[in-house]
């Protein structure tokens, strides 16, 4: 398949959606991104990367980092993490706290904030420095040694981080954190603040398409573990729109409020699309349209 041609057709299609939606404004550092940006990149399983538009412009990965922290924990603990976090969709957003109380401090899945805090907590225990571990991993997988945290974003998150602190303390009250709350939160915010381009993210997510193999051919995850992450992405990766995403795109995907979405075609390729305008559920409007068109063109949807 001529990936470059496909991406160009996808980008042409998505163009009319660019600028729609709202840029995330819950922290000042994200508000400033221009809404007219759009980029898309595809990394095939041999590591070849194709791209169109603003595919080399860095943006804030935000919740996309949740995929990588989960992978890094599973690389060490395999399926043990599921004792501390579920892997089922969570229903509506309000559930975060209600659900935690009902289910004794065990979050529904690793892609809601509460669940990602548990995963980060575990990564912190395993490595002693969860955020730096992730940064190094992303540098190696993307082949980009310049990846860095965005301190302004991390600080801004911390300044507006009371909701996440509430979640963390609440789970701690149920005994579901191993490290002190401030440390867990800090590493969580640093992870979210990493700046990467579509190119970087498509490459870094390659192990999900390669059934667990890293860029250098070494094994990060067993095939069934990579499959597990893909399954969680499909059912839980796009906030409260997983059903809609499964229908429209039909691929495992993880979105972030920075406007990025990483999607996986297992055995074939990893994509990353970026455009900052978000729909009411926090997913990139033009990004979702682009992935929708991609699976229509390639026939690689599940359905």
């Amino acid at each position: 398949m001529d990936y470059q041609a496909v991406l160009e057709e996808v980008a042409a299609y998505a163009r009319s959606y660019v600028g729609h939606g709202q840029v995330a404004d819950y922290i000042p550092a994200l508000e400033k991104v221009p809404t007219d940006r759009f980029g898309i990149a595809l990394a095939d399983i041999n590591g070849e990367v194709y791209g169109v538009g603003d595919w080399e412009v860095p943006f804030s990965v935000q919740s996309i980092s949740k995929t990588f922290s989960l992978a890094l924990v599973m690389a060490n603990d395999s399926e043990d993490i599921w004792k501390r976090v579920g892997r089922e969709p969570s229903g509506t957003p309000f559930n975060s706290l209600v659900q935690l109380e009902w289910e004794n401090g065990v979050p529904r899945n690793p892609f809601i904030n509460a669940g990602a805090l548990v995963v980060t907590d575990r990564l912190q225990t395993l490595t002693g420095d969860a955020s730096t571990t992730m940064l190094h991993f992303l540098r190696e997988e993307s082949g980009n040694p310049d990846l860095a945290f965005d301190q302004a974003v991390a600080d801004s998150e911390a300044e507006h981080g009371d909701r996440n602190a509430a979640l963390a303390h609440f789970m701690a009250s149920f005994g579901n954190l191993e490290n002190p709350v401030p440390s867990v939160i800090e590493h969580y915010f640093w992870q979210c603040s990493i700046e990467m381009s579509c190119r970087d993210l498509a490459a870094a997510g390659g192990f999900l398409a390669r059934h667990g193999l890293r860029a250098d051919g070494s094994r990060l995850l067993e095939a069934r573990e990579a499959k597990r992450i893909n399954a969680v992405m499909l059912t839980c990766g796009t906030y409260d729109a997983a059903g809609e995403f499964a229908y429209r795109v039909g691929l495992p995907a993880k979105s972030g409020v920075g406007g990025g979405i990483v999607a996986v075609v297992p055995g074939r390729c990893t994509l990353c699309v970026w455009s900052p305008g978000l729909d009411s559920r926090g997913n990139s409007v033009a990004g979702a349209a682009a992935l929708d068109h991609f699976t229509s063109l390639t026939g690689w949807s599940v359905f």
Copy 2:
């Protein structure tokens, strides 16, 4: 592919799971089913049906009927039903009532009871006799003119139907029912009580694999509508185990507490597996194991 051979290998694999789990006991009529039953059938898109074990023994379809009522409503209304019911996973079971109150009487998806009541209500409006309409449809699609309601089951459901009546009245209080509550509930129970075999169900669900075409080649649904139903099955079709099912099976599927599961490989075939022992989430233990093994053998999982 030699479907018969595949099914035999699947059945051999699943054998060790047969008898595990609990038979549904919330109504007396379901308790009596012997736990050692196991059947599996596969209908290819040409209507050829293969089967192994108790694949011709009728059982109570229960919630599998929710797939057919949704299809029959979409055949007439296309996507209009989504104004009255969502299409996102619902989180934990307890949500049923909490979620309805929070979201003003709009159920999260058509496969939780509240959502299926709305769909049945709409089918009743469209046809004047929702349950008979479904029975006739299933007779035609399965090619089995002997399909019938099980009055003992329907009566038993009605006798223990206060929870469903509460859901229906609650939605009516929000103006989300078009017909009188007793009529909606009655047709809902009749639909659940239909007795079908694996053979019948695999054949009757063929339109989901044929992108909306019925057994006689006529069009029931547009391709995108069939895709929509498959997507809802994948994310919401197996109660509170959709994430686990996506991982293990990776196919759109709808289960019932009678022990049946219908699964779809779009463009290829529809399967139905049956074994009455249920896991804690209400899905057939041996049935899930069989589908898991089927996708391992065929490589037709999503991931």
Copy 3:
């Protein structure tokens, strides 16, 4: 104390509040009441009744009936009813269904609708005709043989009764009803529809001030049982404004959306005030102001 003079001063004070608030409009039959009405009556423990303004104009008792059904059940069962309904405040209104699910079908107190349905159910079991039993009791206690149901109101309630039917079926699903749901609901609506004046209600509630003695001197309740009802009125009798009422009025009271409020000064007298304009919590604006002024004048508040 010169009760007539006190009532006149109270009425003069309350006059400026008359017409404020909204008339209940959830059923058409209640909407038509003119907002400029105000009446107040006081029955001393000897049965002497004083009144001012529209104190002899009948209005719909609505939730005030919950006090009488509770008394009639306790007269037979004493404290047994507390196995099926709690006696603590319920917090916010939304709790109705959430709380029922959480607490396995046991309502928080007998003055929320769910709790009153349980009490009516029990009264139906005890008497075979809950609403007629109450009507006869109220005729005797008020000395007014003309008291009657208002069929238009009862029909209107039934027509808009899905929320109450949901509550009743939900409790039935937990085994917390003894009679068929339609029968319980019907008697509940009939009870609410009884028309009484301030004069009738002050007289009929006399047993609460007389520590359980009826108008004819016979004993309806033990003193501690009457005390129990008064305590539940103080903490739960005015919907979600019990704290505010305790502060302003400091007396056991039960309000109804017809605009009536019955209040008790144990050992001294029973009051009933009526004015149809309701505040946002469903309590009569002018009625609350009148009771507030009454306790200021008499010093009979708790605090």
Copy 4:
């Protein structure tokens, strides 16, 4: 009335309840208190204090401190605090977080932990040192200059304080805290850790019986403000047993998990009873029995 004789009769009656119930064990520092202790004290409005049993033994005031922080805030802000915290009962304990989310970070009343944190936050803003302010106030009102914090208790609370930290951060995320979370929590724990005897507490709570006048005759609160606090105590002061307390005792009261209960007879006296065994709702078993008997003997119940 011969208060000393009344207290002796009350103590004799309560004796058989001493040792019943469980000592609070959520923090180690409270577990060590012997269960066989019982003391009761009464301060009349002239400041005369009577006592029986262990009435001069200090214990941890815990939630009783919530009454004093509320009074100190109202002394400055009058009724303004109600913009940030409600004054209605909260229903079941689980509500804490659910209710906060539903009602946008505004706690239901100042006597649940969330509400007390808001009050402490305000006191901290007003004084710059909320806990020391309270300690000095209590020393002056009790006439006991030796009152002190118990550092072991405060440390123990902080060590097990994740639930309170979650509440505080959650409210901060809604903008309902003025000070940094750690500072609010710290002062809250210090307040709870103050050690006082029945004698000290009965004397210190005298202003509630004196309609707002302090021990030295100066005015702390307007009469209506003192009335307001008493009303909140009656409807919300005993955790999820306010309805039961209103029935049995019929007086404004505030309990703490240290086993103390302060009760007020407005215009007459303030009582404090202490016995460490708690019932399932966190109220002293022997303490409640004692107050019940006190109102029976004196006839000073509401009902």
